[in-house]
């Protein structure tokens, strides 16, 4: 019961939401549409509580590090302090509070942009190490990447008008085709995983290993 009832609940809810999308707009099936809408709005609320669960775990991990005076406890103090300050400000005064806006605009946004920007170095060094053009396919990948990069950089159009045109065509046709095939394959994967969950063959989301 402790294991099979949650699987049944999950299956019924998922089927209602799937049916809600595919059934006609007839009055006899309005309850499915209504239930699907209500369940999806419930999902937003439960997911918000789950977000809080993640925050509690993070706080627990770092407060333990502080209380044990671990070697890197100073960093935990920074994390817990900044997190608590922004939570108190956000909940008590809203996200329009000047200090909240300062933390968001002057620390979070630049740190996020710089974090993503610094990945550029690692992508380039990883590419340098792994892009050994040993086969036809690796040549194709390498040449495509170079054309797309030159097509998107101002220097590409200065060298030749070919690069922006070729980059646009590559993006529009072969890239779309490849990504479309991957997307279709992934969609079939999503459906087959869902069927496995509905049949109770995959219960790992409940913390159960079969």
């Amino acid at each position: 019961m402790k294991n099979s009832l949650p699987v049944a609940i999950m299956t019924v809810i998922a089927l209602i939401i799937i049916l809600d999308f595919f059934v006609a707009d007839a009055p006899s099936v309005q309850w499915i549409k209504q239930s699907g809408l209500v369940l999806r709005s419930w999902g937003i609320v439960i997911a918000a509580f789950a977000m809080g669960l993640g925050a509690v775990n993070l706080l627990r991990r770092h407060t333990v590090a502080i209380s044990r005076r671990e070697p890197e406890a100073l960093y935990s103090v920074v994390l817990v302090g900044s997190m608590v300050i922004i939570i108190i400000l956000g909940i008590a005064y809203g996200s329009d509070h000047p200090t909240y806006s300062f933390l968001f605009s002057n620390i979070l946004s630049p740190a996020s942009a710089t974090m993503y920007a610094s990945i550029a170095f690692y992508i380039v060094t990883a590419a340098y190490r792994s892009f050994h053009a040993r086969s036809f396919e690796s040549w194709v990948l390498l040449i495509t990447a170079v054309i797309v990069m030159l097509g998107k950089a101002p220097i590409g159009s200065v060298i030749s008008g070919f690069f922006p045109t070729a980059a646009d065509w590559i993006q529009a046709i072969p890239n779309t085709a490849g990504m479309r095939a991957i997307m279709m394959g992934a969609a079939l994967g999503v459906v087959s995983s869902a069927v496995k969950m509905f049949l109770g063959l995959d219960r790992t989301y409940l913390g159960l290993r079969d």
């Binding site: 402790k2 009832l5 699987v7 609940i9 999950m10 809810i13 939401i17 799937i18 209500v38 419930w42 609320v45 439960i46 509580f49 509690v56 960093y75 994390l79 900044s82 997190m83 939570i87 956000g90 909940i91 300062f102 605009s105 002057n106 630049p110 740190a111 710089t114 993503y116 920007a117 610094s118 550029a120 380039v124 396919e137 690796s138 194709v140 990948l141 495509t144 990447a145 170079v146 054309i147 797309v148 990069m149 097509g151 998107k152 993006q171 046709i173 072969p174 890239n175 085709a177 490849g178 990504m179 479309r180 095939a181 991957i182 079939l188 999503v190 459906v191 989301y205 409940l206 913390g207």
Partner: protein, 198 residues
């Protein structure tokens, strides 16, 4: 050079974050923990906003008591911290996974499958024909039930090449996106902050 306190903080955070490229150091670790703390806190504030707007307000202002159910389910998630009753958390998890699976499956069937096929088979130009051929070839590369031999073997081979072009394009786009961000940060440090570059 800027005299704005906010610009200085932004500049120091940028330099601290970029310093990791050279070597991991205490300045980077402080900026990293600050980043994680603020982003997690911001996510909590946004989550609280969702609970308030979607559940608490309709209950208080319109008397819709049905919103007690998702709130109760959300609270039950925290039963995992209590040993004897941690199994109760499986119920809200089941509800959440059910909603997520339902939304994912309908999106997968409609958006990622039916609409993609519909867009692929609507042929009106040479490029559309090429797109159709490339999609079929790429899909045939994922066909593992039977090995395609002879002249048919060239179809998955073409698909493999198309996929390599797609990966190359994805790589090039990612690099250029990251470079654009990096250029933005460098422009900020040298221009807005230090005033070296106009």
């Amino acid at each position: 050079m800027s005299l704005d306190f906010g610009i200085w903080v932004e500049g120091l955070v940028t330099i601290a974050m970029l310093s990791y490229v050279w070597k991991e150091n205490p300045f980077y670790r402080i900026a990293e923990h600050l980043y994680v703390g603020i982003s997690a806190g911001h996510a909590v504030v946004m989550a609280w906003g969702n609970i308030r707007d979607a559940a608490v307000k309709p209950m208080q202002e319109e008397g819709q008591l049905v919103w007690i159910i998702p709130i109760l389910l959300g609270v039950l998630l925290y039963s995992r911290y209590f040993k004897g009753i941690s199994w109760i958390a499986r119920y809200p998890v089941a509800v959440m996974v059910g909603i997520g699976t339902g939304v994912a499956v309908r999106g997968a069937i409609h958006g990622d499958f039916v609409q993609q096929i519909s867009a692929t088979i609507s042929v009106g130009s040479v490029n559309d024909i090429l797109l159709l051929v490339f999609v079929i070839a790429s899909l045939s590369y994922f066909f593992f039930s039977r090995e395609l031999k002879g002249p048919m073997g060239t179809v998955p081979q073409l698909g493999r090449t198309v996929l390599m072009v797609a990966f190359g394009a994805a790589f090039g786009t990612t690099v250029m996106g990251r470079m654009a961000l990096l250029i933005g940060r460098i422009q900020f440090v040298l221009g807005d902050w230090l005033g070296i570059m106009k």
